[in-house]
Symmetry: C5
Subunit: 354 residues, 5 copies
């Protein structure tokens, strides 16, 4: 987790408001699309040049401008200028090391949060930044790459399903937030499955790799925690509906998202408890195996050391030893050794070592 190649230090020494992309290197071109609707009209299109955005500025309809790709400072800067967004905010939008936060600047509200996806290929979490800026007629969303989590929402607006088309920008912002938080549950379920299979492994056959996996998933849970924890506060501010941009009837929807984030936090904390419990079980099972190994060693040594000694005694080269010349001497000795062996065996039985 510490192995990030994202160097925030590139910005050191630059004046505040300098647009520098801090995040994973990307080569795709930035794509900008617009969805514009009222209850009765609907328009959707890809933008080639930023000039096409101008007409949406003062329109009473709800305009959702979705920017996919935040690694081109010029383009992002231009969008910022067009909609008069504070340079410090634009700087934050391009900096993916940002913490989830909310900034209410009166005419618009900016929410920065994290989209978490589970990459099936690498079996790893992918955390990307999503920035939402919404005023009373426009919603801007900045994504690092196309995560696809907004597709169902877009579909719902297109087909005028649910309340989406009847309400304003605040509801659209809610719907975007809700899509992100709902996706956390999907991720947590994947984590849950991984934890389940790890739990079985720890109990049945713990190896060093198991511990590494436990550690790895613990780091991932931490990642989720850091994305969700500050979000609680962010959404709780939206829920209070103190800004004129947020309608009272929308507040109850934000409250719903708020409860979902708390639920995610609960799951995160439960998983952490389970993982630390797994670590304890791992450690104690290592100790247990050491005990078992030592028992085997002790049993073998305790049985064969005395026997070897006895054989050694009759291996001494004294001329006069009782029974040496006797025809049954060897057999008597073997019997004696067998008795010693059985005695030891019964002793270990009694101590429940065997």
């Amino acid at each position: 987790m510490a192995k990030s190649t994202i160097k925030r230090s590139r910005k050191t020494g630059l004046p505040p408001g300098s647009l520098v992309h801090i995040g994973r290197e990307r080569s795709e071109k930035t794509r900008v699309s617009v969805v514009d609707y009222t209850q009765d009209t609907f328009e959707e299109r890809e933008i080639r040049s930023l000039d096409e955005l101008a007409p949406y500025g003062g329109k009473p309809s709800v305009t959702w401008i979705d920017v996919v790709g935040i690694h081109e400072p010029d383009l992002i800067g231009q969008i910022g200028c067009q909609f008069a967004i504070h340079p410090l905010l634009m700087e934050d939008i391009m900096n993916t090391t940002q913490r989830p936060k909310i900034d209410d600047l009166g005419k618009y509200i900016c929410v920065i949060l994290k989209v978490i996806a589970f990459d099936e290929a690498s079996m790893e979490l992918r955390v990307e930044q999503l920035s939402l800026v919404f005023s009373d007629d426009i919603v801007l969303s900045f994504q690092e790459s196309d995560s696809g989590i907004f597709r169902p929402l877009r579909e719902r607006i297109r087909s005028s399903l649910g309340k989406a088309r009847r309400m304003g920008t605040d509801y659209l912002a809610y719907a975007l937030l809700d899509a992100v938080v709902d996706h956390y549950f999907v991720v947590m379920e994947k984590m849950g499955e991984k934890i389940d299979s790890l739990e079985d492994e720890v109990v049945a056959n713990p190896k060093r790799e198991t511990l590494r996996s436990v550690q790895h998933i613990r780091d991932e849970i931490l990642l989720v925690r850091r994305a969700v924890w500050p979000l609680r506060e962010v959404i709780s501010l939206l829920e209070r509906a103190e800004s004129p941009l947020i309608d009272k009837t929308t507040a109850i929807y934000f409250r719903d998202v708020y409860e979902h984030t708390i639920q995610v936090m609960d799951t995160v904390d439960t998983y952490r408890d389970i993982l630390s419990g797994m670590f304890d079980i791992y450690l104690s099972s290592v100790s247990n195996r050491l005990n078992e190994v030592m028992k085997v060693l002790t049993i073998i040594a305790t049985i064969f050391m005395p026997l070897t000694f006895i054989a050694g005694v009759y291996g001494m080269n004294f001329e006069f030893m009782p029974g040496l010349k006797s025809e049954y001497g060897f057999w008597v000795m073997c019997l004696f050794m067998l008795l010693v062996f059985c005695g030891m065996f019964l002793y270990f039985r009694k101590r429940k070592w065997i």
Copy 2:
């Protein structure tokens, strides 16, 4: 615990307010029963069709509609419509992954909490969701299955015992909450018994299974904690009686339930302390047994290695060794070995190893 088959992710992408049952698969039919009473009248019946509920709408009597089974979206949705409950709430009621919470919507209050039962057959905890919606004349209760914990209350209303019949819907809501919280004590006592027997096992004869049981019960305690912790806040809100739906004289009863939840939390925390203490004792007893095993090994090795060496020396084939030809050589040697043996024995006695 993480092994839930309850997939909250089924709801991802659906518009808010979509009724989807998220919880254990169930096949029983939903049963709806009505209890309607004033101080002097009492009526109780099973409902076949939801139309039968209509007359209870505006009646001044207290009407308790008990819905057992929340897995039929159509039916639940219909009830929600009939009593004009917000769709987001109906969605929460059908989602058993919900956290305990309270929603005051002015005309009615919705409380969602968890019923915990101890399943004697599987020796496991069963957590089910209970949702209460109460306005000034109706109390709706939604249970996952018939837990039976409301039977004594129903009996008390039927036979007009205690205050139940003399008071309003707030008191009925209190009585339902109280029944749930009282049942927590029953569950905690069962847990206490399991912990007691585990404690004896850890001290007397700790095995790997013991540790697994400790871990398992720790997870269960966590389950209870997650059900009770948010409930404190929920009931504390009811106790403050800020809603016109709650009478001042009922508030003291809610305060009583509040104290009970705190008591449950206390017990939960005590049990957690005891369990983590048991884990420590388990670990140290594993170390202790390793020590004992090692002592046995060391004693055996320390006694027989030198003896075997001495025998080995006289097993060498040199022609000229002192005493070889002597008649008493063997016996002298045996005596010498006995002395070494006794010396070692006394040495271990002194070190208190034997």
Copy 3:
């Protein structure tokens, strides 16, 4: 600690306000005594029938009614009726699983707290419940059994020592609380002595029983903690003197008790730190002893294995081995073995193992 036979679940299903004794089984008869005094008058007597209490109802003097024994529901219920105490409170007074708490009901204040005594016979803590109810002319105290901690106070009132006789019911309530909290110090000192002797044991000669004792005393400290922690809040409420029942001049006395409870909490936390430190020392001393045992084993094996091997070599039956026939062969070999032995010995000296 978990081994309580006190079953709170007996109350499950009963209507609120039902008087059920939850606590240790007792067979003694409940004793009720009355102390009634003004600055100039003093009366003390045992009560046979509850009717004798009636005249004390409206008297301007301070009346202290001390009830020893709370296991007879009828009698306790009767007292509750006579002084018009809320049924929920009476229920709490009879339930010894209660948490320390305060209830201000306007006309009277009810304080429930724990008396902790150290039973010299069983060397165990005994926790009993004390409930105080005081109005402007009467103080009711309910004890589980006669703990004797109020005797000095009673003596002081009788002989008119200190301020006791000059002040009202609030001061009497303070004096009772103070006696209980003062007794905590006695208990903590006993615990301190036990911890001291355990500490010596852990350092000098730790055994498995030592760990059990550490664990046991840790549980007991927890017991005290649970009794004292909520008491802080209780007394802090009294100290603020918001009720007209508490005089401003008495508030400073409550403040004094408050500081004492904080001091007890401090001691409790210090003891917990010391005990967990002892656990660490115990564990590390177990590891240390394992190390020592292993060193002995390793020294023995490292010295005698090579020697035994050398002897074994010359025990082989080859006909042609150097020195076999020589008269000094044996002695040369012995010398060689001695050299090996000394070499090993010096090696261990150098590594500081011997």
Copy 4:
């Protein structure tokens, strides 16, 4: 630390306000000295009889009465009467188990805190109680014994250095507090040195005594913590200057002391972290040494057991064994054993055990 012979329980059962000395047994006589000054005048003297204190009562000059020794109830009680201090406060002043605290009684403020000194002889911390009572013209200080930390201040007043002579009793109280808190830094530096030398020991050559020392210093740090933690709150109350006894211009000085206590707390917490880190290193170094011992044992056993076995094989008394009669048999066998030895040696090299 728990080994205190200070028995607070001696006060159990006494009425509030009883003067009982609770603290270390002392035999020195109590010494009382007076320093009286204005900007222009200065008087200093030892008091033989308490009557000599009377004239200082109403004087407009600043009078500092320094009482060294608080174990004589009569004398302390007399002083309390003379300056009309509340009996509960006098009781607290004589009780050295007191927690640092502040009491604002309007006409005077009482501050109780701890003086910590490092006893060079016994290498141990000595904690003594200091009580300050100041009104608008008199400052009373009660020390257990003469710690000497006020000498520089006394010298400064005598020689009219700094602001001391120009300001009132609040500044004098500040100066006394400041002297105490400044001395904490001296103590913390001594602790720091002890910790440094311990740290070297833990890394280089950890012994059981090292752990004991770590534990001991941990207890001492705890002692400091308990003295400083409540002091923060005490001084923060003084800093707010809500009492008319404290001048606004003095408040900034109290703020300075406040920051110093926070700094001491910081150091305390850092030391605790370092000490717990040392404990971890100690434990892991014990494990490491066990590993090393075991490796030696395993190497020895793995090399000599097979060799001894081979020798044993040719020690069998079969008449027909290959090479027995051959002249080079013995040497061939020796060579074979050497090969086995070298093979083992290389194997351990590869596993990096040697």
Copy 5:
């Protein structure tokens, strides 16, 4: 970390406001430079004598006086006098053991914080104190040595880049703070790299030195934590813009810095989690290796002890043993031993030890 040679105790006994340098010994001369600018003018110069500072006192331009070196009490004292700064503040500025803090004295605000640099040569962190004092026309900065982190800012002012020249002293103070906090990110990235390489080491080949490094970096992280934690509060106070010295438009910039400090804290906490996870992995890998060593030992002993015993049996000198005289006796015995060996081998395979 505890090995500081910085003795705060040197100040014990001195009157408050005494200027004593507490910090690393330094021999460089203090350098004072002045930057004075308005939107249109710019002046920069080194100061030889403090008299040259006088003309900047009442000028409406923004004057930044940068003092490098705080170890000369006379010079620092003189500057304090010239700009009428409170003596207690000047004392704090010279005391590098100071905690980050803010003091608002109405006419000027003083901020004390820590500059953290990563010394590439010694691979260690270097923490130095920076004190900022700003009024409405002057900003004073006191550094221990020239860290160079203000160079880009100076360059920006010189070349009139960004907003620097257009705004007042509050913006300059912000820019200085921002430079310091931005540098924390550089340091954290260096730490991150060290942690990454340590993590690989712990997994691949943990040695005792690894643990020491983990411990060392943990102490360093603690150092950063102690520098950043109090800074949050400091900057949060500036952000609230309650002082007339701070303009509302600047407040949003302070908010930006505030978010950066929180981000640093987040990273610090993440690193601590990772480091404690590494400690756990180290410990468990030590246990694992012990297990492996023990397994080797047990396998060797379990295979060769019985074999050696068998050889010993036929080494006994009885005259009559079966097969002694037989030509194939030896070979039969060898075969038998081989069978035992293979049996053991298969047994270990089954238990998955080999």
